[in-house]
């Protein structure tokens, strides 16, 4: 049986999830040149926010048609609050500090968020069951779940809305101006602090959309889920060209597909029989990152900027 279409679909789905999370890294970097290493944990808190809505707020037996939108709202609110709170109380006081200071703060915040969820969210020290959408559909040689349909539709809607917002809306225009030249943006009358908050909020909401998709697809979440997903999404953002929103989308898709393909087919290459399978997927993903950094350090869609370290 030809497994290629199925594997391509799997890669595309995984890549959409990476892309949604990567938006948060790339927008924040584009505007304040900060790698928000706590973004994976913002994704994680979004998942727990959505879980809270489902298990503790909605009455039992609510249909998923009603539950999923409300979970998106709940997860979105939590992730946005965490993201905006991090900006306001952790990063903003360090705006003028050497770049290493906010970076280390981000790593500390990431650990702190994990520990808060592990210690204070009921049952979060182990994996917690998340309502899943498991009904499958056969489309020729490809089988997908309801959760996959949700993910692909949500990613497409979010990305198109963002592209429109950044290019056409007044705030989006202000965002581009702030990313290109923050001092001069202020001279135009743009409140750059507000723009920075908007960037964190959009990143947080997109992470929450990815988090709900993750839960619906895999059926459980845990306090460490943000670590690897965050790292991969960061890889996707760098792969696509950090600071570029289309790069984040493209980088996510390329990474998801490449990783899935490598895990499935690389063991067919003579001499590489041991290197296939899911356990090697991360290795191939990060190999791809290394390759891109060597051959095209600005990323697939990035611009060559000499003074950016």
């Amino acid at each position: 049986m030809n497994t290629l279409p199925q594997q391509l679909a799997n890669g595309l789905l995984l890549g959409s999830m990476y892309g949604l999370i990567a938006i948060g890294y790339t927008m924040v970097y584009g505007i304040v040149q900060l790698i928000n290493f706590a973004h994976g944990e913002i994704f994680m808190t979004g998942a727990f926010g959505a879980l809270t809505v489902y298990f503790y707020i909605l009455p039992g037996g609510t249909s998923m048609w009603a539950a999923v939108p409300l979970m998106l709202v709940g997860g979105g609110i939590v992730a946005i609050l965490v993201a905006v709170g991090a900006e306001r109380f952790a990063y903003r006081p360090l705006r003028q500090a050497p770049r290493l200071a906010p970076l280390i703060t981000a790593i500390g915040l990431s650990l702190a968020l994990q520990e808060v969820v592990r210690n204070f969210y009921p049952g979060a020290d182990k994996a917690r069951a998340f309502p899943s959408l498991d009904t499958t559909h056969d489309l020729g040689s490809v089988t997908i779940k309801d959760a996959d349909i949700f993910l692909i539709v949500a990613a497409a809607v979010c990305m198109s809305a963002l592209a429109w917002f950044v290019r056409k809306s007044r705030t989006g225009r202000a965002m581009q101006a702030t990313a290109q030249d923050p001092d001069t943006a202020q001279l135009m009358g743009i409140d750059t602090n507000r723009i920075i908050v908007v960037a964190f909020a959009i990143g947080g909401f997109f992470a929450a959309v990815a988090a709900v998709s993750y839960g619906l697809k895999y059926g459980n979440i845990d306090y460490r889920m943000g670590f690897l997903m965050g790292l991969k999404a960061f890889t996707a953002a760098v792969l696509g060209g950090i600071g570029n929103i289309y790069g984040a989308m493209l980088g996510g898709l390329v990474l998801g597909i490449a990783e899935t393909m490598a895990a499935t087919y690389i063991n067919n290459i003579p001499g590489m029989q041991q290197l296939g399978g899911q356990s090697w997927a991360n290795v191939w993903a990060f190999c791809l990152l290394i390759l891109v950094l060597l051959l095209r350090p600005q990323g697939l869609l990035g611009e060559r900027v000499a003074d950016r370290a």
Binding site: R170, Q176, A177, A185, Q186, M188, G189, D191
Partner: protein, 238 residues
């Protein structure tokens, strides 16, 4: 008559280094006032402080009767003070039209904005021809035109121009200076910072010579243009 801009004993420091050491001057409505002086005299620091990008250590700034010290940069534009910064600082990856629209960021009158964009194209026809082009692809002189056009889009009561002739060819420099003269004749109030003292003083109603953070000499443009020490120090005469 009270001045549009009143600066009194303004001091600005970068850390422990004082760049502006207690300067005072005024700009009346309709005037062109110029600050001249060499690199490092504190001219750009003065403008950046007036537009709120830098915080003064002490001193008073009154614009249109309101104190400006402590007001955030993005709110100062709304009061009618526009700043075309040194080095032009156009938004390179946005188009010329988008750059001009950003100059009108705080305005709500769509029709008026369109009219003013058209005015900028009339003032600088090259901008109109290339309106859909990324601003980063323009030449230095064209970028300067865009920076000036963008600053005018906020309909300022006072236009501050920092080194508009910097790095331009003599022909382009003449064009820019002619445009400033045209704006002056239309009644625009301008605070002009220039290293090209000859050109700036010929245009100015009032001039101030800055040296290492202080104003050392003030007078009408014509007076300074014929002042012997100015001619020696800034106009390259022995």
């Amino acid at each position: 008559m009270t001045a549009l801009l009143e600066v009194e004993d303004l001091r600005v420091a970068y850390g422990k280094i004082e760049a502006v050491k207690g300067i005072s001057f005024t700009v009346e409505a309709g005037q062109v006032v110029t600050l001249i002086g060499t690199n490092g005299a504190g001219k750009t620091t003065t403008l950046r402080t007036l537009s709120g990008l830098l915080k003064p250590t002490s001193g008073k700034i009154l614009f249109d009767g309101r104190p400006l010290t402590g007001v955030a940069a993005h709110k100062i534009v709304a009061l009618g003070l526009a700043h075309s910064p040194e080095g032009r600082h156009i938004f390179p990856r946005l188009t010329i039209a988008e750059n001009l629209q950003l100059g009108a960021f705080l305005r709500k009158d769509k029709a008026g904005i369109e009219k003013d964009i058209q005015r900028a194209y009339d003032l600088f026809p090259i901008l109109g021809e290339r309106r859909k082009q990324a601003a980063g692809t323009l030449s230095g002189g064209e970028q300067q035109m865009l920076a000036m056009g963008r600053a005018l889009m906020s309909q300022p009561k006072l236009l501050m121009l920092d080194e508009p002739s910097m790095g331009l060819s003599p022909i382009m420099m003449q064009k820019i200076m002619a445009t400033i003269a045209e704006l002056k004749s239309q009644g625009t109030t301008i605070l002009l910072v220039e290293q090209n003292a000859q050109a700036a003083l010929s245009l100015a109603d009032q001039g101030h010579v800055m040296e290492v953070g202080s104003i050392v000499l003030s007078g009408t443009g014509q007076h300074l243009l014929h002042d012997e020490s100015v001619r020696k120090a800034y106009l390259g005469e022995d």
